[in-house]
């Protein structure tokens, strides 16, 4: 599984919806798939499964809003 697939898998698990694996440019906040609580879960999973540490204050809803954007941001932090 490549990096992008892994990230999408984590997002899908946290959102409890596989739609994020198909629609990579969907705004997951606007779609109501994720809230602040789930956001924290996402960050914990990134750390545990991908070993990437994303500080809460780094997670800006305007730049981490779609699966593609999240993959890009994580690539920057890797």
């Amino acid at each position: 599984m490549d990096f992008k697939e892994k990230v999408l898998q984590v997002i899908a698990e946290v959102c409890e919806d596989d739609v994020v694996k198909e629609e990579h440019d969907m705004d997951i906040f606007d779609a109501g798939l994720i809230d602040s609580f789930a956001t924290v879960e996402l960050l914990v999973q990134f750390e545990e499964q991908l070993d990437i540490n994303v500080p809460i204050t780094e997670f800006d809803r305007d730049t981490w809003n779609t699966p593609n954007a999240i993959v890009d941001r994580l690539n920057e932090l890797k």
């Binding site: 809230d35 879960e41 809460i56």
Partner: protein, 385 residues
């Protein structure tokens, strides 16, 4: 002089900002003249009582020492204890300003805007802890951010890195004209909200309620609706002024309101009402609390963790408004509403009993509106008189 409370204030501001606007339209850097404007306006705001002025100066120096000291420390080490101690010290003046009046001690700790300024300072410490602020910051950067006069008295609460981006930006003439246009628009919206609608609701309706209402119940009911509307128009009006003046100064301060009375549920409401405050609590209290619980594996139950987070957030938000019974009850009330909604939302996700469709959206909005208005009724203190 209280900011945005009199026409004199606007006239002084208008004259002081003429060169700012001219320089901006010509595409010149705003920084040097704007520092001058800031000092003059701060002097006007804090000139009334000398006590408030000295408290402000002492507060600013304390925060500067804490922030600069912590950044220097964080470049070498990263102990959690030091972070918590520094954060506590940063919040201490605010705590004192809330507690001292209750102990009937002379309240030297307080001054206009302390609640808002504290949040800006603590935020810098938290972002330093998270490794997002790595370089030492200059006294100029910190003071200009913390004491940015358009938003000094009641927010909006900006974030340092966002503010800094705007502050360093050299606006092209076209960009600045756009900014100026939006800013002036907001200021006129502020006049409409605060001095026309808000003022009218208060003067012609709330103050005449004794004649309008025919029973105790209708009196309180009408007070609940009218006070809620008044609160919105007064505060949204103030915010429009603060954001509008910020724009003219070349800083895009965040918004505080996004049509709060059409919220579909209580969670939606807190994404639309006093946003810069609720987002602050969301990012720096709720999310950090949840993260800590999950990472240390202290609590596993999803529902329990999020509900404890909401209770913590809203009780803190309540006391932040002041250590008075109405604010504590207001906080507890919203904690209850949020946890209640949290249970309902989870239950409904499974059972899908709450119908969807346009009609139900209207029903949801009406229910939320009443829940929210009852909250403001508690907040007003009227039921406890």
């Amino acid at each position: 002089m209280t900011p945005y409370s009199s026409f004199l204030f606007f006239i002084i501001l208008g004259i002081l900002l003429l060169p700012t606007m001219t320089l901006g339209i010509m595409g010149k850097r705003l920084r040097y003249y704007n520092v001058f404007v800031s000092i003059v306006v701060l002097a006007i705001i804090f000139s009334e009582g000398s006590a408030g002025f000295f408290s402000l100066v002492a507060f600013t120096i304390l925060q500067l020492i804490l922030i600069k000291g912590y950044i220097a420390y964080r470049q070498k080490k990263n102990s959690s204890l030091v972070f918590y101690v520094m954060s506590m010290l940063s919040i201490l003046p605010l705590i004192l300003s809330k507690v001292l009046p209750i102990l009937a001690v002379d309240n030297l700790a307080s001054f206009l805007g302390i609640s808002y300024l504290t949040f800006r300072a603590v935020q810098v410490i938290i972002e330093t802890r998270d490794g997002l602020i790595k370089q030492q910051l200059s006294i100029y950067q910190l003071v200009y951010f913390m004491l940015f006069y358009p938003t000094i008295s009641s927010g909006p609460i900006d974030r340092f890195r966002r503010f800094q981006k705007d502050e360093e930006k050299l606006w092209a003439p076209e960009e600045y004209k756009e900014l100026l246009y939006k800013g002036i628009n907001k200021i006129f919206l502020g006049f409409l909200y605060k001095f026309i609608i808000g003022y009218s609701i208060n003067t012609y309706f709330i103050m005449n309620l004794d004649h309008i209402a025919d029973s105790m119940f209708t009196h309180h009911l009408l007070y609940m609706y009218s006070y809620s509307l008044y609160l919105f128009f007064d505060f949204a009006g103030y915010t429009a002024f603060a954001v509008g003046i910020s724009y003219i100064m070349g800083i895009r301060s965040p918004e505080n309101f996004n049509k709060p009375f059409i919220s579909r549920n209580i969670k939606d409401f807190w994404n639309r009402w006093h946003m810069s405050l609720s987002f602050w609590f969301r990012d720096y209290v709720f999310m950090r609390f949840v993260f800590l619980m999950k990472k240390k594996k202290w609590l596993q139950n999803k529902m329990l963790v999020s509900n404890l987070g909401y209770i913590l957030l809203f009780l803190l938000m309540g006391v932040w408004h002041g250590l008075a019974i109405q604010y504590i009850i207001y906080g507890a009330y919203h904690a209850l509403m949020m946890t209640g909604f949290n249970f309902f939302e989870t239950w409904n996700k499974k059972h899908k009993r709450w119908p969807t469709g346009r009609m139900m959206t209207v029903v949801s909005i009406v229910i939320t509106f009443h829940v929210v208005c009852f909250g403001f009724y508690l907040f007003s203190g009227r039921p406890f008189q």
